[in-house]
């Protein structure tokens, strides 16, 4: 949490002035009972009407000054808090964008989104409250005590006893109830978990006729939640009555001691009234302070979670120096080369990829096949350096990917991921994500190759058709084809299709592959697929099993000599029919 305070540094002035004005306001508030005491002791006692009027004007004046001070304080506090959260959100967003795939996998996007939204809001709230109230309440509590001392030292001793007693009660109850609230939260999470589970598993639960048992199970946890809530409610309900007893008990004591002091001629009647007023002020402020502390606690917890995100080190850093020289054709003219590559994911014990070693010439089409979990996606994710190889090296145009700047490397590579993601905006805007300066013609060409031309033209507005968030107004197949077109608009040197035609029917898939093959220029293409049909015509097929290359060659070579490939192929093509249908 402390480290987050740097985002307040642009608002130093506001952070100091806010509390300062608040203290000014509080000081004026502390004078009010004294003025009232003066009215009683001088104005009423000597029937001095002009004096009473004068003093009441003083009261109004104090109120006006208080109003001005506190509005000024609120303004500075709001400005500092809002500025703080704006800076924090910017830093968070910028930081999260730098995180690489492996951090995103471990943290989870929904967590990151919560950090950026509700957690930041909570912290903003906390900063605002602290700037406004954190100094004010203790100031009034101790201020009232000091004012009491200026009236009469002996009578003020009541304050010396009452204030620590109040603090002990208020903070004691908080200390007891905060962990209990955590328990309630835990019970609530459980109830939430069961509800969600019953929604996602509605089919299975009904298929097994488990409804009644689920209801019973839910009721059990629901009762536990209620019991916890009632219990903690009982304890925190003690707060008000107990503080009430202490403060009013102190008032009783004040009146008694005041009576003795007045009888002995040390203080006046009006001053006793003032003392009682100060005690009442303390009660109000203590309740505020307790609420404030609960809020601050929440904010600190949120702040710590945000801090943890900011402390996540991106595992992939831009180490390369961007070199503008044209990529030199190096030995053999290999576009992509895997040299004894191994990959162990963060937190995983075993290697996900072991000793991957192969090279691809410029313009070749490479098929990568294997069961899920065999590491197909892992292999291609290493090319644009989404993950860092933990052994060996990956070379693009003869240069280690770690020597490129991330932007330069990723501009060379066009990746189409398994999940077809489009963004809110027109089709044109989505395509421009790949290449901001693409012409109308280039877009049309990309759409044609991606087999998306027809349906885009059929849409209202064509390229200007508005895509909803998440591409909800397009079918799965249409989304996939648009993501392919988006990668093509980039005119990448290396194109990676990571199982990205799964929603296409076989005919469209075949037409797409044909169009890609006929594309101009020397594009190196990687096709990752489960379907043997999608990759059988590739120049080179890499067969993966359990993270290792078990076959490398053309379709015919592999069918003759690679057991895993045969297994996959014949499971999809009947052995006898295979040849004929080809």
């Amino acid at each position: 949490m402390k480290k987050l305070l740097v985002y307040l540094k642009d608002y130093k002035k506001e952070s100091v002035l806010g509390p300062l004005f608040k203290l000014l306001e509080a000081s004026f508030e502390l004078i009010v009972p004294l003025v009232m005491a003066a009215i009683i002791d001088r104005g009423v006692a000597f029937a001095d009407k002009p004096y009473i009027l004068k003093m009441c004007l003083v009261l109004v004046l104090l109120a006006v000054i208080g109003l001005v001070c506190s509005i000024t304080a609120q303004y500075f506090a709001a400005k500092a808090a809002v500025g703080f959260s704006t800076g924090l959100r910017h830093a968070l967003f910028e930081h999260i964008e730098k995180l690489s795939f492996s951090e995103m996998d471990t943290v989870g996007t929904s967590t990151l989104i919560t950090r950026m939204t509700s957690d930041v809001n909570q912290v903003q709230n906390g900063v605002n409250l602290v700037l406004r109230l954190f100094l004010r309440s203790p100031f009034i509590v101790f201020g009232a005590m000091i004012m009491a001392f200026t009236i009469d030292v002996k009578a003020a001793l009541v304050f010396v006893v009452a204030i620590p007693l109040l603090s002990v009660v208020v903070f004691g109850i908080m200390l007891v109830s905060i962990p209990l609230y955590k328990k309630v939260q835990g019970a609530l999470d459980k109830v939430l978990g069961i509800t969600r589970e019953n929604l996602t598993g509605a089919r299975v639960i009904r298929a097994f006729n488990k409804e009644e048992e689920e209801i019973e199970n839910f009721n059990g946890h629901n009762e536990m939640l209620t019991a916890a809530q009632v219990y903690v409610g009982k304890i925190s309900a003690l707060m008000n009555p107990v503080t009430y007893v202490i403060v009013n008990g102190a008032i009783v004591a004040l009146v008694w001691i005041g009576a003795i002091r007045v009888d002995n001629g040390f203080i006046t009647q009006g001053e006793v009234v003032a003392l009682v007023n100060y005690m009442s002020q303390i009660l109000v402020e203590l309740v505020k302070l307790a609420n404030l502390i609960i809020n601050i606690n929440k904010s600190i917890a949120c702040g710590n979670r945000i801090q943890a995100v900011l402390e996540l080190e991106p595992s992939i850093r831009d180490t390369g120096v961007p070199i503008s020289e044209p990529s030199a054709k190096t030995a053999g003219g290999f576009a992509v080369e895997f040299s004894h590559v191994g990959l162990t994911y963060a937190g995983a014990g075993d290697e996900s990829l072991t000793d991957i070693h192969f090279a691809v010439k410029k313009g070749e089409t490479v098929g990568i096949i294997g069961g899920t979990g065999s590491g197909k996606s892992s292999v291609v994710n290493l090319i644009p350096r989404f993950y860092e190889a933990t052994a060996g090296s990956v070379l693009v145009d003869g240069k280690d990917v770690r020597e490129y700047s991330l932007k330069e490397l990723r501009d060379k590579v066009g990746v189409v991921l398994q999940k077809a993601v489009l963004f809110k905006g027109t089709i044109r805007e989505n395509l421009a994500w790949g290449n901001g300066s693409a012409t109308e013609q280039e877009m049309a060409e990309a759409l044609r190759i991606a087999q998306a031309k027809e349906f885009v033209e059929a849409k209202e507005g064509g390229l200007d058709f508005e895509i909803e968030q998440g591409g909800k107004n397009l079918s799965g197949g249409q989304r996939q084809r648009l993501t392919i077109a988006r990668a093509l608009v980039k005119r990448p040197e290396i194109l990676i299709l990571d199982d990205s035609a799964s929603a296409l029917d076989f005919a469209t898939d075949a037409a797409l592959r044909k169009a890609i093959r006929e594309m101009e220029g020397e594009t190196t293409v990687f096709i990752v697929s489960q379907r043997a049909a999608s990759i059988r015509h590739a120049d080179k097929i890499v067969v993966l099993d359990d993270g290792a290359v078990v076959g490398l060659g053309t379709h015919e070579e592999l069918l003759a000599g690679c057991e895993v490939y045969q297994e996959i192929y014949y499971s999809q093509f009947k052995k006898a029919a295979g040849g004929e249908q080809a």
Binding site: I71, A259, S475
Partner: protein
């Protein structure tokens, strides 16, 4: 606030009251205690005032009188505290019990909602109604009880007490009150539009964050980080502007009402002091009045806050009630047959079905499956293969026509007995949080250890279960978080294997499983299907070719029906599908 209570809110309040009725004793006690608390609280300043009046000046102090008053004060203070505590406890009890009842009913509802409702609403939305909305409602209800009620009582109580002391001062105070209300509502009106602007911008920003962070991989693949940050900063800047305005203006409310309070205080001071000089009231009464002036205005400030909170709570309650008033599944007929152990003859005749009237899906569909036959359902992804499963299991009812099992229409038998006769393994595996054992025995809770292990072995799940840290007692997280997709599917198979009903609905895996596990699943499937009527959503050619009947689906409807050879000979969609898979 044009109108504090709308018609819809009224009906919601009515429904809430019905839940509260059960706890009317607590409610009555709470209301009584609130009145007691307020009265006693207001009595204290009077006593203090009287005591102060007995302290006149040096040597003029009536200690005996003071002592009696102070003793009485002590009793009143203790009584107040006790009443307050019991009242709070009552409010807690009412609130949390009402909320528990609502939550319980809502969950009960979820279990009996038709699947069409669950399918068409996002899980998050339903969960947030049952959890977040109910919670928010509880907060509002509690606050309403504790603050709204005591607030109102305090205002009237204070007025009465003030009247008993002095009418003139009371009138002066009452005259100033509207000023405080006016200022508060003026600020509230002004800030409302700013808060709206803030929450709209915040919503826009959250949407943007979800889109970009949620799809970080794509953003990085297209090296779009810089542009995204620029757009983010633009929204962030706007949010900063609107938030500052909203927060600042709303935070003026407190100082402003406090200012009005100070004015009231000053007025009471001046009028009171003049009256005191004229001998109308004593100094002690003036001191009591001053403390009332403070107490009187406070509830006004609180109530405006509580009203918004209450309105919010009512809106939440309305959302929960909306869920609870959804039409449940049509209950089984009272004379519904119980299908004990089906032979497995399934017949669909003239079945029409669609999810929405606008989009017709299945029209006049006929199918006759003999016991033990295998039916393969084939078609491109997203062609609606689950529709058929929905109808067979009676997750959805047909619009017209009949589906019958062993000659009995499914509408005429209990859902429980129908579903007991089907074993279902879906591709979207679902496991509940609990142990592996809990999950396997879901269909047969009284299974013996031997039976469990036998089922796990038959479904090739035993070997991986054995290797887990606690074996069959390993606790799996919600939705099987710590297992691989293939392992989850094997567990789902073991679950069905244990009770092995006479009919099966199986969903072949398309992608997420490695070859070896896939072969295991194939073997397990084959074992289960022996002698059982089976419906298989098929992706593998071998499964399709071995099926007795192939149903070809496209865009949600069944376009062709037959076996491999006859369908190929028809040269229709199946033939295209089949040929394109092997085309160059």
């Amino acid at each position: 606030m044009k109108k504090i209570v709308t018609k819809q809110q009224k009906t919601t309040i009515g429904k809430v009251l019905r839940y509260i009725k059960k706890y009317w004793m607590y409610l009555g006690l709470s209301i009584f205690l609130a009145a007691v608390t307020v009265a006693l609280t207001l009595y204290i300043p009077i006593l203090t005032g009287r005591a102060v009046d007995l302290i006149v000046a040096k040597g003029l102090v009536d200690f005996a009188g003071i002592l009696t008053i102070l003793k009485r004060m002590a009793v009143v203070i203790l009584l107040t505290a006790a009443a307050q505590w019991v009242m709070n406890a009552c409010n807690n009890k009412i609130t949390y019990n009402v909320v528990r009842d609502i939550r319980k009913e809502a969950f009960d509802k979820i279990e009996h909602l038709p699947l069409s409702y669950i399918d068409s609403h996002s899980y998050g939305e339903v969960v947030s109604r049952v959890i977040a909305d109910v919670d928010q409602f509880a907060d509002g209800l509690l606050m309403g009880f504790t603050q709204f009620f005591t607030g109102v009582v305090t205002i009237f109580g204070t007025l009465i007490f003030m009247l008993t002391i002095n009418v003139k001062i009371t009138v002066a105070v009452v005259l100033i009150t509207p000023l405080s209300l006016f200022v508060a509502s003026f600020i509230a009106k002004k800030t409302f539009s700013m808060f709206k602007l803030q929450s709209e911008t915040r919503g826009e920003q959250t949407g943007f964050i979800e889109e970009i962070i949620g799809n970080q991989k794509v953003v990085q693949a297209l090296s779009h980080e810089k542009e995204a940050l620029e757009k983010f900063d633009e929204i962030n800047g706007r949010l900063q502007k609107y938030s500052l305005r909203a927060i600042f203006f709303s935070s003026i409310t407190n100082p402003a009402t406090r200012f009005i309070n100070s004015l009231v205080y000053a007025v009471v001071g001046i009028v009171g002091a003049f009256l005191a000089i004229a001998g109308g009231i004593t100094v002690g009464q003036l001191s009591s009045l001053l403390s009332y002036a403070n107490q009187y205005t406070k509830p006004f400030n609180e109530i405006s806050g509580v009203v918004t909170e209450l309105q919010n709570a009512l809106a939440c309650a309305a959302r929960v009630f909306e869920l609870m008033e959804e039409q449940p599944e049509t209950p089984d007929d009272s004379d519904a047959a119980v299908l004990s152990h089906a032979e497995g003859k399934v017949e669909l005749s003239h079945v029409n079905f669609s999810y929405t009237p606008e989009q017709k899906l299945i029209e006049d569909f006929n199918l006759s499956v003999k016991p033990g036959q295998r039916v393969a359902i084939v078609g491109p992804t997203g062609c609606g293969k689950t529709t058929l499963i929905n109808l067979l299991m009676r997750f959805y009812d047909v619009n017209s026509g009949t589906i019958s099992v062993d000659g009995i229409p499914v509408r005429k038998m209990t859902r429980e007995s129908l579903r007991n006769n089907y074993g279902m393994v879906l591709q979207e595996t679902w496991l509940r949080s609990g142990t592996i054992r809990d999950n396997i025995t879901m269909g047969k809770p009284d299974a013996t250890e031997e039976e469990i292990i036998a089922a796990a072995k038959a479904s090739h799940a035993h070997s991986f279960i054995k290797r887990l840290p606690e074996g069959y007692d390993t606790v799996i997280a919600e939705d099987g978080g710590n297992l691989s997709q293939g392992q989850k599917q094997l567990l789902c198979i073991a679950r069905v294997m244990l009770c092995l009903p006479p009919m099966l609905i199986l969903d072949e895996a398309t992608s997420s499983i490695d070859t070896r596990t896939e072969i295991r699943i194939q073997k397990a499937f084959a074992k289960m299907m022996q002698g059982r009527t089976s419906f298989i959503v098929a992706h593998r050619l071998s499964t399709i070719q071995e099926a007795d009947i192939i149903l070809v689906m496209k865009d949600g409807s069944i376009v062709e029906q037959g076996n491999h050879e006859t369908l190929l000979a028809q040269d229709g969609f199946y033939a295209t599908l089949y040929n394109s898979q092997f085309a160059k």
